[in-house]
C-alpha cells in the first residue's frame, strides 16, 4: 500500500511540482516564509530534533542533534548540501533535484536559517550537468521571488546559495573531502577532529546534509512534528526514498515509510514487482556498495536503521541492490572493489594499497579463473589489515564486499581454486609479468 501523501517525492502527488508556480500554489516556500516571520532559528532546530529526522547521506545521524553541535557565537557558519551522490546503486538525490527541486532549495533555505548561516553551497556530482542547470534555475526563481538574497521578506535575514559542481570523485561525497574540493584543493578527507561543525569549510563552523535530508525539512515545518512522526518507526521516523536496482522487474526510486520489510519493497507490484524471470534472490546489498551483504534469509527484515544494523549490515544511502542466483559472489566482490580501488583517494596506505591488491587478486580469480590455494587466506589477510585502519570510511567500505563474499560464499572461491589447480582454468593468464621489468634495469634507465 503506497503512501497517500509523499514527503519527498511529491511529484507523484503533484506531477508539475518542478514548476516554480505550481510549487508555490501548493504552499511552496510558505514554510520558509513562516519560519522567518514567526520562528527563531532555535525553534526550527527543535522541530527538526523532535521530528527525529535522520541524515539520509549514509550514517543516519539525527539532523537536529548535528545542528546543535555548532559552537555558540562563532560566525560565519556555512551550510553545505551534499549532492555528490556517487555511491553505486544510489540515485534518489538525482531524481529529487530533477522532479522536486524547489522543495530542496526551500529545505536548504530553512536549514540555513536554522543554523544562522547566510551562505549555503550545493555540491553537485560533476556528472549531474542537467541537474545543475535545474537547481540553478530553481535558485534563480527563488531569488526573483524574494526568498533568497538580502533582507528576505523584509525580515533582515540574508541568504545566498551557490551551486558547485565536482570533478568526478566519489570521495568528494565524504564531508571533509567535499570541503577541500569546494575550497579548490585536491579532494581528500581531512583529519578529524576538528569536526566540520567546529571547523569546516574555510575553517568555519559548517553543517553538511544530504539532499534528501534537507528536502524533508519544509514538510516537517509545514505539517508538524506529529504528522511527520506518524510515518516510519519510533527510532527511524519518516520515509525513505529507496533506490531499488538489480534483478527486479521494476527498478527505481520508491519512497516508503521506514520499517517496511525488504520483501515488500522487492515484491510489491507498486515497487519492485518481484524478481525478473522469477529467479531466486541470492544477494541483497541494502545500503549501497559500502553495506555488508544480506541474503534471502533477510527478506523479512524491516527497512529501518536499527533493524538493518542488527542484521549486521547498514541502511546507508538506501540503495537496495538485489541480485539473483546467476551472480558469482567473487565476481560481484571484484566489481565492487574495483569501484573502491578506482575511487580511493590515495591518502592512506591501507586503502590505497589494499584495494589495489584486492583487485589484482580478485581480477585474476573472478575474471581469469586463475587462483592459488593461498589466494583465499591472502584475501582474508588483506581485508583484515585494512579493516579499522583506514583514514576514512571509503577504505573501510571497501572491506565489505570481499568480506561478505568470503563469509557468505566461501565455496565459490574454493571452486575457482580447485578448477584452477585441476587445469580447468578459463582464459590463459595474461601475465602481468609481461610488463614486469627486471630489477635494477628498471631504476637505472
Amino acid at each position: 500500500m503506497g503512501l497517500s501523501e509523499h514527503i519527498v517525492m511529491r511529484e507523484l502527488d503533484i506531477p508539475a511540482i518542478n514548476d516554480f508556480s505550481v510549487y508555490r500554489q501548493h504552499d511552496g516556500w510558505e514554510a520558509f516564509a513562516d519560519a522567518l516571520r514567526t520562528k527563531t532559528p532555535a525553534d526550527v532546530v527543535n522541530m527538526v530534533k523532535e521530528a527525529g529526522l535522520r541524515g539520509r547521506g549514509g550514517a543516519g545521524f539525527p539532523t537536529g542533534v548535528k545542528w546543535g553541535f555548532l559552537p555558540k557565537g562563532v560566525y560565519p557558519r556555512y551550510l553545505l548540501c551534499n549532492c555528490d551522490e556517487s555511491e553505486p546503486g544510489t540515485f534518489n538525490n538525482h531524481q529529487i533535484i530533477d522532479r522536486n527541486p524547489h522543495q530542496l532549495i526551500e529545505g536548504v533555505a530553512i536549514s540555513a536559517f536554522a543554523i544562522e548561516s547566510h551562505t549555503a553551497f550545493i555540491y553537485m556530482r560533476g556528472e549531474f550537468a542537467a541537474a545543475a542547470i535545474t537547481v540553478e534555475r530553481a535558485i534563480a526563481q527563488a531569488y526573483q521571488a524574494g526568498f533568497l538574497g538580502k533582507n528576505i521578506l523584509g525580515t533582515g535575514y540574508d541568504l545566498d546559495i551557490y551551486v558547485h559542481r565536482g570533478a568526478g570523485a566519489y570521495i568528494c561525497g565524504e564531508e571533509t573531502a567535499l570541503m577541500e574540493s569546494l575550497e579548490g584543493k585536491i579532494g581528500q578527507p581531512r583529519l578529524k577532529p576538528p569536526f566540520p561543525a567546529v571547523a569546516g569549510l574555510y575553517g568555519k563552523p559548517t553543517i553538511i546534509n544530504n539532499v534528501e535530508t534537507l528536502t524533508n525539512v519544509p514538510r516537517i515545518l509545514a505539517r508538524g512534528v506529529a504528522w511527520y512522526r506518524s510515518h516510519g518507526t519510533e527510532k527511524s521516523p519518516g520515509t525513505k526514498c529507496f533506490s531499488l536496482s538489480g534483478h527486479v522487474n521494476r527498478p527505481g526510486n520508491y519512497e516508503i515509510p521506514f520499517g517496511v520489510p525488504l520483501r515488500e519493497l522487492i515484491e510489491s507490484p507498486e515497487y519492485g514487482g518481484g524478481m525478473r524471470g522469477g529467479r531466486p534472490v541470492k544477494i541483497i546489498i541494502p545500503g549501497g556498495a559500502s553495506a555488508p551483504w544480506l541474503t534471502r534469509e533477510h527478506l523479512d527484515l524491516p527497512l529501518d536503521y536499527e533493524s538493518v544494523a542488527a542484521a549486521g549490515s547498514m541502511l546507508g544511502s538506501g540503495a537496495v541492490i538485489v541480485l539473483n542466483d546467476t551472480v558469482s559472489a567473487p565476481h560481484l566482490a571484484y566489481k565492487m572493489d574495483e569501484f573502491f580501488k578506482h575511487e580511493s583517494c590515495g591518502k592512506c596506505t591501507p586503502c590505497r594499497e589494499g584495494t589495489h591488491w584486492l583487485v589484482r587478486v580478485l581480477h585474476r580469480m573472478a575474471e581469469e579463473g586463475h587462483a592459488h590455494p593461498e589466494d583465499i587466506p591472502t584475501l582474508h589477510g588483506i581485508y583484515t589489515q585494512m579493516a579499522g585502519n583506514c583514514f576514512c570510511l571509503l577504505g573501510e567500505s571497501a572491506v565489505m564486499p570481499i568480506k561478505s563474499a568470503l563469509r557468505l560464499f566461501p565455496q565459490e572461491f574454493e571452486a575457482i581454486v580447485r578448477q584452477s589447480q585441476n587445469g580447468h582454468a578459463g582464459k590463459p593468464r595474461p601475465a602481468a609479468a609481461q610488463h614486469a621489468i627486471p630489477l635494477g634495469l628498471a631504476s637505472r634507465r
Binding site: H342, C348, T349, R352, E353, N389, A436, S443
Partner: protein, 927 residues
C-alpha cells in the same frame, strides 16, 4: 603548559600537554614507527604506520572523576579501534600499548601494504642503508610478502622534479613529507599532488620546476629513496661514507654540515643538527655548493712569476721569496708600504694569523676584508656591540618574541634564517618585515612595513619616535651617551611628518612600536639593503634596541647579514684598517681597501698580499693597481683574476682540508674539522702565513735588523697576555715572535687568550654538545624516523657575549650626521646580493646553472614610462659612469628603484656605482 602523566608500555612519564603519543613514547624510550609524521611538521595521520592501542581512564558520568577498580587504580577503557599515535594528543592518565598483538598486526600490515607497491630496488637505491622503510621493515615488518611479484605496477622513473631533485614514483610511499616541508617550513609551495589512488603522485607546480632554495632537505626527510639529488645519485653507497663535521662558510648563518667522504673524495653534503643554528636543515647552496673542493682547477702547488710567466715552485722557494720581498719593501719604505686583504670567509685562525703577521712582524695596519669597491658599505660593528647576548637560542624563541627584519632579503643573503624566522613565527613570535620592496619573507610576516626607497632613516626615526612615545627612555639601562641629541633629532619633526616622509602611516609606526615595546625578546635582523643606506640607519637600529630595553640581553639583539661566511669573525679578529682584534680602535687611520688602489698607484703602498679575495675580477682600479704594484702575493683556492696578476701564488687548503673556527652572524663560534688531507701541496691559510712570518722573524733575528716584537704589539691595548714565553695550549712558546703553531688549535688557543671576547673559546670547549640534543634525540634515532640528517656529536659552538653585555663598550646614541646628496637622477640603484651569484665557490656545482644572466630589475611603472619591455637593453648612467644591462620588469617593485644583482661576474657595477647606493638615470638602448 602543564604536564600530563601517561603510561606507555608500562613506562609512566610526565610530558607537556599537547604532546602527541608518538613524541611522548619517544620521551619514554619507546619507539613507535612512523613514516608520514615528522617532528617538525603538523601530523597528518596518512601512512597509518603509528597505529597503537590507546586507553583513557573511565570517567563516572555523574562526577566526571575516574572510576577506580578494587585496587584503587583507575579503570582504563581501551578505544575499540587502534589510533594513529601521531595525531592523538596525550591526556591525563592515558595508557598506550605499542606492543599488543593487534598493534603488531597492524604495523606488519601497513608495511606489507607499502611494500606491495615498492620496487624493492634497494641494491641500486641511494637511500639503501639509511632508509627508514628498510629499517622499519626490519624491525616491524613481515618477513615475507604474499604479494604476487607479477602484480607490481611500474612507473617511468626517475622523473626530474627539477634539475636538482629526481623523483622515483615507484619508491614514493606518498607520505607527503616533501610537500608539507615545502608548504609549511620553507614556504615555497612548489610541490603538490596529481591524480589519486595508486596513481596519486608528487609533481612540481612551479616554473622553473622545484623552484626552492631548500629543495635538498626533502631528500633527507623522504623516508624512502623516492627523492634523490642529481648531485649525489649513484655516487656512493652510504655505508662507504665517512661523515666529517664541518661548518658552512657560504653565508653568515654557519650551518653545521657533514662532508660525507669516500677515500677523501667529497660524495655529498648533509646537515648536522644544531638547534641554535640550522636545526636539522641546510639550504641548497650549502648542500650542493661545495663541489669546488674537488674542482680540477684547484691550485695544487705554489707558483712564482719567472719571465712574466707563473711557474710551479716549491713551498720553500715561494715562502722565501715572499719573505725576502716583503722584508725588502719594509726595509726600504716601512711597514706601511705593505697592505693585506683577507676574505671574510677564511677561518678565525687564518684571519688572526694574517693580521698578526701584518701588525706584529711587518708593522703594518693596512688591513681589510673588503676589496675597495664603491658598493661596499661601512664595516659593521653594531652586530658585535649589540648582538644577541649569551645563552641566546633561536630554537627557544616563539610567543613573546618580536623580530624586526629591516632591509634584508634573508632568502638570498642567509637562506637558512628564512626557516628559522618562519619557525619562530609559527611558535607565536611576531615578525615585522620592513623593506622598500617585497621579499619572500613578507608572506610569513605578521606585519609588513613598506617604506619609500631611500627613506630608511626616516622610517626608523619614526619607529623610534613612536617607541619613545610609548615607553619613554626609562628602559635605557646600558651605559650610553648622546640621548639628548637623539631626543632632539626625534622630536624635531612630528610623527605625522616623519610618517609622510617615509611612506609608512603613523598608525602603522605606532602599532609596530607597540609590538616592539611589548616584546619579551627583541631580535633585529638587517641586511645588505639596510647597510647600504648608510651607518646612520644601522646606528638607529641600535638605539631602537636600547630604548626598548633589550640591549645586552639574552635572546635580544642585532643580527647583521654580512656578505662573508665569517665576516663577523673577520671583524672580531681585526682584519680592518681601523681597529685591532676585539674592536680596539687604532689611533692612526691606515690604508683600507677603499684607499688602497690609489695608494698603490701613488707609490705609498708597494706590496699587496691578497688572501681569498679577487678584487681584479670586478674592480678595474684594483686590476690596474695590482699590475703596477711592486710585489703581489695571492693565496687562494683557484687561479683567480687577481692571482694571475701576482708575483707569487700560494695554494690554500679548502674548508674540507683544514681545521678552523668560524663566527656566525649572531656571534656563535663554531668549529669545523678537517675532512681530508689538503689536495696537492695546498696548505691552510694560517700555515702559509706562518711560513712567511717564521722566515721573516728568522731573517731579522739573523741580521739583527728591525726589532722583533717579542711581547706582542707595542701599544698592546686590547691584546692582553702576549705569548712571549707563555704556556699556550700544550705548546711551550719560545722567543720566536710567537710563530710556532703546530695546529689550528694552537692558533685558537692564542685567540682565546689574546682576543677580547674570545676567552674560553678553545677547541675542547667548542666540542661540548650540551647533550642530549635540543630535542632529546637518541643516538642515530633520526635515521629511523626523521630523516638522514646527522646528530651533532662535535659541539654546538659557543655564543659570544656582546660588547655591551660584557661591559667592554658603551653606546653612543647621538645621531650620526647624514651627508646630503645633491644628485637628482631619478632612480636609486640598489645592488642586491643573490644566493646563487658569481661566487667562484659555486664552481663545479649544479647551482651554476641557477646563476642568472646579469639584469636590471625595474618597476612596471618605470619601465612603461620609457616603453621598456623585458629583455630590452637599458643604459644606467651615474655621475661615475655607465652600464648597459637587459631589463627585467617586476610587478611588485616600487617605483624609483633599479635593482641589480650585486655579485654577478662581468656586470661591472663598479663602473657606475658612486657608493653603496647610487642615483642613476635610465635610457633604453635602441638597437
Amino acid at each position: 603548559m602543564p604536564d600530563v602523566t601517561v603510561t606507555i608500555d608500562g613506562v609512566t612519564i610526565q610530558v607537556p600537554s599537547g604532546t602527541n603519543v608518538v613524541d611522548a613514547a619517544r620521551m619514554a624510550g619507546v619507539a613507535v614507527p612512523v613514516f608520514c609524521y615528522h617532528p617538525r611538521m603538523q601530523p597528518v595521520g596518512m601512512c597509518r604506520m603509528c597505529l597503537v592501542q590507546i586507553g583513557t581512564p573511565r570517567l563516572d558520568p555523574a562526577t566526571r572523576q575516574p572510576v577506580l577498580d578494587d585496587a584503587g587504580r583507575p579503570v582504563i577503557q581501551m578505544m575499540p579501534k587502534l589510533q594513529t599515535g601521531c595525531t592523538t594528543p596525550v591526556s591525563e592518565g592515558m595508557v598506550v600499548n605499542t606492543v599488543a598483538d593487534e598493534v603488531k598486526f597492524a604495523q606488519r600490515g601497513v608495511l606489507e601494504f607499502l611494500l606491495t607497491s615498492h620496487p624493492l630496488d634497494c641494491p641500486v637505491c641511494d637511500k639503501g642503508g639509511e632508509c627508514p622503510l628498510q629499517n622499519l621493515t626490519m624491525q616491524w615488518g613481515p618477513g615475507m610478502s604474499r604479494f604476487d611479484y607479477n602484480d607490481k605496477v611500474h612507473f617511468e622513473k626517475p622523473v626530474p622534479l627539477g634539475d636538482l631533485i629526481y623523483l622515483d614514483r615507484e619508491r614514493c610511499i606518498l607520505c607527503s613529507r616533501c610537500v608539507r616541508f615545502q608548504d609549511e617550513l620553507a614556504d615555497d609551495p612548489v610541490l603538490g599532488f596529481d591524480n589519486r589512488g595508486r596513481n596519486w603522485m608528487i609533481i612540481s607546480k612551479s616554473d622553473p620546476p622545484f623552484d626552492s632554495k631548500f629543495s635538498g632537505n626533502t631528500t633527507d626527510i623522504c623516508p624512502v629513496g623516492a627523492l634523490t639529488s642529481s648531485d649525489f645519485r649513484f655516487r656512493a653507497r652510504v655505508w662507504e661514507l665517512d661523515s666529517r663535521p664541518v661548518v658552512c662558510t657560504l653565508c653568515p648563518v654557519g650551518c653545521n654540515l657533514s662532508l660525507d667522504m669516500r677515500y677523501n673524495q667529497l660524495m655529498r653534503v648533509m646537515p648536522r643538527e644544531n638547534g641554535a643554528v640550522n636545526d636539522i636543515w641546510i639550504c641548497d647552496k650549502g648542500r650542493y655548493g661545495h663541489r669546488f673542493v674537488d674542482h680540477e682547477s684547484r691550485l695544487t702547488t705554489p707558483m712564482l712569476r719567472r719571465d712574466g710567466q707563473l711557474v710551479p715552485a716549491s713551498w720553500d722557494e715561494a715562502l722565501a721569496l715572499v719573505a725576502e720581498k716583503l722584508a725588502a719593501v719594509r726595509q726600504a719604505h716601512g711597514g706601511s708600504a705593505i697592505a693585506g686583504l683577507a676574505a671574510p670567509r677564511l677561518s678565525n685562525e687564518d684571519l688572526y694569523a694574517f693580521q698578526k703577521l701584518f701588525r706584529e712582524v711587518l708593522e703594518s695596519n693596512n688591513l681589510d676584508q673588503r676589496i675597495g669597491a664603491p658598493g661596499e658599505p661601512a664595516l659593521d660593528d653594531l652586530g658585535a656591540l649589540l648582538g644577541p647576548g649569551t645563552g641566546s637560542d633561536l630554537a627557544q624563541l616563539g610567543a613573546g618574541t618580536t623580530v624586526l627584519v629591516l632591509g634584508a632579503d634573508p632568502e638570498e643573503e642567509a637562506p637558512l634564517y628564512v626557516l628559522r624566522l618562519r619557525a619562530m613565527a609559527r611558535r607565536g613570535a611576531r615578525l615585522l618585515v620592513a623593506n622598500l620592496r617585497p621579499t619572500k619573507l613578507d608572506r610569513s610576516a605578521s606585519t609588513r612595513l613598506r617604506y619609500r626607497a631611500g627613506a630608511e632613516l626616516a622610517f626608523l626615526r619614526g619607529l623610534l619616535r613612536a617607541l619613545s612615545d610609548e615607553v619613554g627612555t626609562d628602559r635605557l639601562t646600558v651605559k650610553s651617551s648622546g640621548l639628548d641629541q637623539l631626543r632632539r633629532a626625534l622630536f624635531a619633526t612630528s610623527l605625522d611628518d616623519t610618517a609622510a616622509a617615509c611612506g609608512v602611516s603613523a598608525a602603522d609606526l605606532k602599532a609596530a612600536a607597540a609590538t616592539i615595546a611589548s616584546a619579551e625578546h627583541l631580535l633585529i635582523f638587517y641586511g645588505a639593503e639596510a647597510r647600504s643606506a648608510g651607518p646612520a640607519v644601522v646606528e638607529t637600529l641600535g638605539a631602537l634596541l636600547a630604548l626598548a630595553g633589550k640591549a645586552g640581553q639574552s635572546n635580544s639583539g642585532l643580527i647583521a647579514l654580512l656578505p662573508g661566511g665569517n665576516s663577523r669573525g673577520a671583524l672580531d679578529m681585526g682584519v680592518r684598517p681601523d681597529a685591532r682584534p676585539g674592536y680596539a680602535p687604532l689611533a692612526q687611520p691606515t690604508i683600507g681597501a677603499r684607499d688602497l688602489w690609489n695608494a698603490v698607484q701613488g707609490g705609498r703602498v708597494r706590496a699587496v698580499w691578497v688572501a681569498g679575495l679577487d678584487p681584479a675580477a670586478s674592480l678595474p682600479a684594483a686590476r690596474a693597481a695590482l699590475d703596477a704594484a711592486e710585489f703581489v702575493v695571492v693565496q687562494d683556492l683557484f687561479l683567480t683574476e687577481t692571482a694571475r696578476l701576482a708575483d707569487v701564488v700560494l695554494p690554500a687548503a679548502s674548508v674540507a682540508e683544514r681545521d678552523g673556527t668560524y663566527t656566525n652572524a649572531e656571534r656563535r663560534v663554531q668549529r669545523s674539522r678537517q675532512a681530508r688531507p689538503p689536495i696537492g701541496e695546498s696548505r691552510p691559510d694560517w700555515q702559509i702565513v706562518q711560513g712567511v712570518a717564521q722566515r721573516l722573524v728568522q731573517a731579522w733575528v739573523a741580521t739583527g735588523a728591525p726589532a722583533v716584537p717579542a711581547k706582542g704589539p707595542k701599544d698592546g691595548k686590547g691584546a692582553r697576555g702576549a705569548r712571549g714565553g707563555v704556556e699556550v695550549g700544550a705548546v711551550a712558546v719560545a722567543e720566536n715572535g710567537g710563530w710556532d703553531y703546530l695546529t689550528a688549535a694552537d692558533v685558537a688557543a692564542e685567540i682565546a687568550e689574546r682576543v677580547p671576547g674570545y676567552a674560553g673559546v678553545t677547541y675542547p670547549a667548542l666540542a661540548a654538545t650540551g647533550k642530549p640534543g635540543s630535542w632529546g634525540r637518541q643516538v642515530n634515532e633520526a635515521i629511523y624516523y626523521d630523516g638522514t640528517n646527522y646528530e651533532n656529536t662535535e659541539g654546538v659552538g659557543i655564543k659570544l657575549p656582546s660588547l655591551i653585555e660584557s661591559g667592554r663598550a658603551s653606546l653612543n646614541l647621538a645621531p650620526l650626521p647624514v651627508p646630503a646628496t645633491a644628485d637628482d637622477r631619478p632612480l636609486l640603484l640598489i645592488a642586491q646580493p643573490l644566493a646563487y651569484d658569481g661566487d667562484p665557490l659555486l664552481r663545479g656545482s649544479r647551482l651554476e646553472a641557477h646563476v642568472p644572466e646579469p639584469y636590471v630589475a625595474l618597476s612596471r611603472a618605470d619601465a612603461e614610462r620609457q616603453n621598456i619591455r623585458p629583455g630590452d637593453i637599458v643604459r644606467l648612467a651615474s655621475s661615475a659612469g655607465e652600464l648597459a644591462l637587459p631589463a627585467r620588469v617586476v610587478d611588485d617593485l616600487p617605483q624609483g628603484v633599479a635593482l641589480v644583482p650585486a655579485n654577478l661576474a662581468g656586470v661591472g657595477l663598479a663602473t657606475v656605482q658612486t657608493g653603496p647606493r647610487t642615483r642613476v638615470s635610465l635610457v633604453k638602448v635602441v638597437v
